[in-house]
């Protein structure tokens, strides 16, 4: 069943129900579990490796996903004709423990998309780690990545997020409507929204040449990226700002609308602000090394965050 919006005239408080509209509502609620998979990460970034061992080139944050649905990772990439290049995508926890992984290979110098699906274990905030290598010292190169989270089918039983299938339940338009059914219908939709946060802005630093270049030398803040805020929420709400830093004494500042997040030290840094950000607000990302060395802003992301 694919979502089919109910005619707004079919379910009206104070009037009798319509059995077909009720059945469609139940099926629609189930359908959302497999057909709501917003963008988690989408950015053009050059990762270039000529190595025979798997070389980590980038990471992004994967929050929520309480039900451990599959993480879908697409890359537009190439190897070198005559050799086998391998793209590895892993989901890891904060300590770097691998919670699920998959690979794709390329034997061509022509760019093409590959998709890797990884169903992780664990819980809480996790990270997607991208690695590249080749069968000989030959080029393997990514130019664009996309990721999302959604399963291929609805699960049986009650899930960790509190979601449970509802189609097939009896919802008579003339009889009493079980309280559990009406609560479940709303809470299932709420659960799907909470476990699949929308990634609104994401940028990863290049590896081995190309763009974008988020590396800075010196202790003066340098503008490394700008963006426009997609937004869309009508009121104050919670967001996640996640930044990954590397190099010597790195420090970064992300500014959008009235919000500013400054963080230091290599590794992942997170902030969970409650904000109202109008669509189109300009965003600015700065980086520096506080000791005047060379620092990299390796990843920046802003996502919706469930309360």
């Amino acid at each position: 069943m694919v979502y089919a919006p109910n005619d707004p005239s079919t379910i009206i408080a104070g009037l009798n129900g319509d059995s077909s509209a009720f059945a469609a509502l139940l099926a629609n609620v189930d359908d959302a579990y497999v057909n709501h998979g917003p963008t988690l990460v989408c950015c053009s970034v050059s990762f270039e490796v000529s190595a025979t061992s798997a070389t980590p080139v980038g990471e992004f944050v994967i929050p929520a996903n309480d039900d451990n649905n599959r993480v879908r990772f697409w890359a537009y990439w190439r190897g070198t004709t005559g050799y086998t290049a391998t793209l590895t995508f892993e989901v890891v926890d904060g300590a770097g423990t691998v919670l699920g992984s998959g690979t794709a290979t390329s034997t061509s110098s022509s760019y093409a998309f590959s998709v890797i699906n990884v169903t992780p274990t664990g819980s809480g905030v996790r990270y997607g780690r991208i690695s590249l290598h080749a069968s000989a010292v030959q080029l393997a190169r990514i130019e664009h990545i996309v990721a999302s989270v959604y399963p291929s089918s609805t699960p049986a039983g009650l899930t960790t997020s509190g979601w449970a299938q509802v189609s097939g339940w009896d919802l008579s338009p003339t009889g009493p409507i079980p309280s559990e059914v009406v609560a479940r219908l709303s809470n299932n939709t709420r659960a799907v929204a909470r476990i699949r946060p929308c990634g609104l802005v994401s940028g990863l630093h290049r590896y081995g040449g190309g763009v974008p270049n988020y590396e800075v030398t010196g202790n003066v803040y340098t503008l490394v990226d700008r963006f426009y805020w997609p937004g869309g929420d009508l009121d104050r709400r919670k967001y996640r700002a996640s930044i990954r830093l590397g190099g010597t004494d790195p420090q970064a500042r992300l500014v959008v609308g009235p919000y500013s997040f400054e963080c230091s030290a290599a590794g992942w840094q997170h902030d969970l602000p409650t904000l109202y950000l109008p669509q189109g607000s300009p965003g600015f990302v700065y980086c520096r090394s506080t000791s005047g060395g060379t620092a990299q802003l390796r990843t920046y992301q802003m996502l919706r965050e469930a309360a």
Partner: protein, 176 residues
């Protein structure tokens, strides 16, 4: 009857619904469930996203391809680009974005305004609201299918002299 997209509530911020027997379940509860679901499938659940590019004219690979995810029910994407230009003031740059699904194109054109070919000097150009315009929103899917989809967009930046720093994609959630 056509149905408008829903932009609220913020479904991941609302409290869980708790209805305890013997409180009667009423049709208005179903109406809420239906409205929340439509919000998830339309404006609230599909807010758009920004894609950094840092694409200079004739970069390698030339005419790069990016994949975007297309939310259920979405056919058109409005696009806002952060661009800059270098060279002679008044010179024109052109970015053509082509959908692999529909073969539709939209063309963004900008002039060198003398602010420099840099991130600091970058400014915005955007698609128009009219799908019939050459610079209108991009048709990324034919037909109002309510499933997740994706589209591969070819970015042709062969005319001008500057940088496309990034693209903001805003899904058009139509009344249907």
């Amino acid at each position: 009857m056509a149905r408008a997209p829903e932009r609220s509530p913020a479904l991941d911020q609302v409290n869980a619904v708790a209805i305890v027997d013997p409180a009667p379940a009423r049709i208005q509860h179903l109406l809420r469930a239906d409205t929340w679901l439509h919000a998830l499938y339309t404006e609230w659940g599909g807010p758009g996203f920004y894609v950094p590019l840092h694409l200079a004219k004739n970069d390698t690979p030339d005419d790069p391809v990016i994949r975007i995810l297309v939310s259920a029910g979405v056919q058109y994407m409005r696009i806002r680009a952060l661009v800059s230009a270098g060279g002679s003031k008044g010179a024109t740059s052109t970015l053509v974005i082509t959908s692999s699904h529909t073969a539709a194109t939209t063309t963004l054109t900008w002039q060198d305004v003398g602010s420099g070919d840099s991130l600091e000097g970058a400014f915005e150009v955007a698609t128009s609201a009219n799908p019939d315009d050459p610079n209108g929103p991009l048709l990324v899917r034919s037909g109002a299918d309510w499933t997740i989809s994706s589209d591969d967009l070819t970015l042709t930046y062969d005319a001008g002299n500057g940088t496309v720093w990034g693209l903001l994609f805003l899904p058009v959630h139509e009344v249907r």
